[in-house]
Subunit: 430 residues, 2 copies
C-alpha cells in the first residue's frame, strides 16, 4: 500500500531541511550559552567557518543557493513547546531546572542572527557577528549544514540500489565497530558526532544502533533533539570558545594568564559533579596544570581533546596525585579523533587507574571512508570557531601545533604567557 | 507519518504467506507441466522432500503448525486474472502463446493436490502423490516454504537493529558479487534461485539489484512472479524429472536406454531455438552423448548441472565438433552450485569458443553464510524430487555420485544400462 498523503506531502517539499530544530545542537552549547548570558552577555564576537581540509573545495561541490536556503531556514526556527518543556522539565546530569526560567524565556524568543556568506577560491567564507550568546549557537547547525550538503551533492548522482548498498555498507561498518566495543567491560561511551555527521537521519540511526548494540555502555548523545526524541541522556560540558573569548578580552598579559581559570571559576559557581570537567588544552595542557589553582584539583575530571591522549591522561593522573587526590575517583573524557581501536587501547590502559569515558564524534557519525569509489564521502576537517571578541583576535594553541589558530604574533605571545614548551605535531584527520 | 491503514492491515495478519502466487515458481516447471500434460498426463507420481544436509534438523527448527499453515495456504491459491493474462499474452523466448489456450484453461482451474506430512527423527517427511502435472507443481513452493520457515525461525530471535544490520550485510555481500561480475564482457547471467531462496522479498531484492548493477548482462529470472512484476524475461527450459519419470516407466532395459532421448524427442516437437537445451547428466553425461541420436547435435545447447563443469563443457564441445557442428554457434548453460569466482573462471575459459550463460541459484538468493555468529542462516541442500512413477522407483545418477538417488539395486542397473564409467565425487554445498 502506498501512503498517498505522505507521498504527496513529500513531493511538495521545496526544501528538505537539514537542521530541523534549534535543539538539533550539542548540549554543551546550551550550557555554555547560559553561562555566557550570565557572565558576558554583551560581548560582541565573530564566529567563522574554517575548512582545514583545503583539498575539499566546498564552493565547487555545494550550490550557493542551496546553502543559503538551508541557512535561511535555520533562521526561521524557534523553540517548539515540546522542546521547551523538555529543557525545562527534564533532569540533566541528575539536576532539575538545569536551565533557569530566565534563560528559557530568552531562548523561547530567540531567532538566530544573520550570517555573511561569500565565495573565495573554491571555499565559502561564512561568518556570524553579534552578541556572543546568539552567535555561538550558529556553530553546530552551520557545520551540520555544510557537511550534509556536501554529502547530498555526492548522493544525488547515485542510483537507487547503489544508494541502498551505500547505506548497507555504512551500517555494516558501524555495526562492526559496535561488535568490537561490546566486549569492553565498564566502557562508557557517548555520541559527540553532531557537528560532522553525514546527515541527521544517519546520526539518529547510529545513536539507536549504539543503544541496542552496547546497552548501558552507551551513555547518551550530545545532540539534544536526538536525546529528547530517543529518551537518552544529553551529554556535554564546555568547550574551547570560553577560554578563547575570555583570553581575547584580557587587557594585560597577567589577565590573559588568569583567563582560563576565570572561565572555570565562573563555571564552578554554576555546576557541580560530573559537569565539573576541565578542558585544559586550549593554551597547552602542561602549563595549564602547572599553574592551576588548588581548588581545580577538586573537580571531577578532565577532557582530553588534542595531543597524545596517553600523555595528557598520565599528566592529569600525576597532577591529581600531587594534589592529594585519588585518580580512581576522577574521570578522564577522551574526545579527539577517536575510533574503536584507539578507544579500546585507552580503555584498557587506564582501567582501574581512573574512570574513563569517551566522546565519539566524526568516526561514529560520518565514517563513510572507503564506501564510494573515489572516497567522495570521506569526512573532512571543518570547524566553526570564535575568531574575534570585541574586535580582538582569538587564539587557540591546543596540544597539537597543527590545530593552532590565530594571528602568528598573537600565537607567539600566548605561547610565552602560557609557558608552552616543546609540542609534538600530530596529523589531523577529522 | 504512519500509514495507519497499512499498520492495521498488517497486525490483523494470521499468516505472512511465503508463497503468494501459483506463478511464484520456476518458469521451466510450467513449460514441463505443459509437456507432461501433452505426453504423459495420467501418470501417477510421488514427489518427496529430501534434506541432503542431515545436520540441519528441520523438524526441530520449524514448527509443524506453521509449516501446515503455509502449505495449506498454497492449496488455496489459484491463478489470478493478471497472472493468466501475463502467461497468455507475454512473449517467452521470442514466442507468442508459449502456453496453449487449452493448457491455460486447465491451469486457471488448478488447485494444488493434498500433501502428506510426518515428522521422523528430526526431519519432515513431506510427500505429494497424484497425477504428474499437478504433483510436479509442488516442488518449488514446498522448497521455498521450508527454506524460508527455517530462516524465519532464526530471524525471530533477533533484535531490531541486529536484523537491519543482517540485511545490510547481505546486501553488501551481494553487491560485492555484482561488482565482481560487472567487468566480465559479454556475461549472460540469470537468477535460478527460487527454490532455495532466503525469502521471497530477498529474492526480489537480489533480482532488482542484479538488474541495476549488471544492466543487460543480467538476462532474467526463473521466477515467473518476479519476471512479471519486474518486467523481466522468464528463464528456464527443462529438468531431471522428465528423464527420471520416463525412465522409471520403461518396461525393459532397451526402453530404459531410450528414455532420455524420448524425452527430448517429445520436447523437440514443441520447442525450438534457445529452448532446445539438452540436460545430459541425469544418467551420466558421457554415456548420454556417446549414444545420442544424430539430430540432438543440432540442438542449441547443453546445460551443465553436476560434475566437473569444465570437463562436461569440453566434452560437449568435442561432441559438437565430432558431429560437424560449430561450437561457437552453441550455448552452454552452467547451473550447478555457482558463485562468482567460478562464474568468472568459466566465463573466461570458454569465451570465444562457445556461447556461455549462467543460471545462478542458491549463492545468489541465499548466501547468508557467515552473517550470523553460529551460521544459523547458511543455505543447505534441500531438494524435492520425483521418487516414484506408477509405483516404480525413480533413479538419478548425475555426474557426481554424491547426488545419486534411488534404490541401490536400481542404481546399479541404471549404471549398467547407461554405460556409466568412473565418476568423481564432489562435495555438495547447496
Amino acid at each position: 500500500m502506498v501512503d498517498i498523503a505522505t507521498r504527496v506531502y513529500n513531493h511538495r517539499w521545496k526544501l528538505d531541511p537539514i537542521v530541523r530544530s534549534l535543539i538539533d545542537t550539542d548540549f554543551y552549547k546550551l550550557l555554555m550559552c547560559q553561562t555566557v548570558r550570565r557572565n558576558r552577555p554583551d560581548t560582541n564576537v565573530t564566529f567563522s567557518l574554517i575548512n582545514r581540509t583545503s583539498s575539499i573545495r566546498l564552493a565547487d561541490l555545494v550550490d550557493e543557493g542551496e546553502l543559503r536556503e538551508q541557512l535561511d531556514h535555520i533562521r526561521t526556527l524557534s523553540l517548539s513547546r515540546g522542546e521547551s518543556t523538555w529543557m525545562r522539565g527534564n533532569t540533566f546530569y541528575g539536576k532539575r531546572q538545569m536551565f533557569t526560567p530566565e534563560f528559557m524565556d530568552w531562548f523561547e524568543g530567540l531567532r538566530l542572527p544573520p550570517y555573511h556568506l561569500e565565495r573565495r577560491e573554491g571555499q565559502y567564507e561564512l561568518t556570524f557577528e553579534g552578541k556572543w550568546p546568539e552567535v555561538m549557537l550558529w556553530e553546530i547547525p552551520a557545520l551540520a549544514v555544510l557537511m550534509e550538503l556536501r554529502a547530498r551533492a555526492v548522493l544525488g548522482k547515485m542510483k537507487k540500489f547503489e544508494l541502498q548498498v551505500l547505506y548497507a555498507r555504512a551500517m555494516t561498518k558501524l555495526w562492526e565497530k559496535v561488535e568490537f566495543l561490546r566486549p569492553l567491560d565498564g566502557l562508557r561511551i557517548a555520541d559527540f558526532g553532531t557537528r560532522r555527521r553525514h546527515s541527521f537521519l544517519w546520526q539518529d540511526w547510529c545513536v539507536q544502533a549504539m543503544r541496542e548494540g552496547l546497552g548501558d555502555r552507551f551513555v547518551g548523545t550530545s545532540n539534544c533533539l536526538i536525546a529528547k526524541n530517543r529518551d537518552l541522556e544529553a551529554i556535554g560540558t564546555n568547550a574551547h570558545e570560553l577560554p578563547m573569548v575570555y583570553a581575547a578580552l584580557a587587557e594585560t598579559d597577567e589577565e590573559l594568564a588568569r583567563a582560563p581559570y576565570k572561565v572555570l571559576a565562573d563555571w564552578h559557581e554554576e555546576h557541580d559533579g560530573n559537569l565539573r570537567i576541565i578542558l585544559p588544552d586550549t593554551f597547552g595542557t602542561e602549563g595549564f596544570l602547572r599553574h592551576a589553582p588548588e581548588w581545580l584539583a577538586g573537580w571531577t575530571g578532565i577532557r582530553v581533546d588534542s595531543g597524545q591522549p596517553e600523555a595528557a591522561a598520565e599528566a592529569a593522573i600525576e597532577w591529581w596525585k600531587a594534589h592529594g587526590e585519588d585518580p580512581r575517583d576522577k574521570m578522564i573524557i577522551f574526545s579527539d579523533g577517536l575510533d574503536v581501536a584507539r578507544i579500546s587501547e585507552l580503555h584498557r590502559r587506564f582501567a582501574g587507574r581512573v574512570r574513563t569515558s569517551f566522546g565519539w564524534g566524526t568516526l561514529l557519525t560520518n565514517d563513510f571512508r572507503g564506501l564510494t569509489p573515489d572516497d567522495a564521502l570521506a569526512p573532512f576537517s571543518l570547524v566553526c570557531k570564535a575568531v574575534s571578541a570585541e574586535g580582538k583576535p582569538t587564539v587557540k594553541l591546543s596540544d597539537n601545533p597543527r590545530k593552532a589558530m590565530g594571528p602568528r604574533e598573537e600565537i607567539a605571545r600566548y605561547q610565552r604567557v602560557f609557558d608552552v614548551g616543546e609540542q609534538t605535531e600530530i596529523d589531523v584527520l577529522v
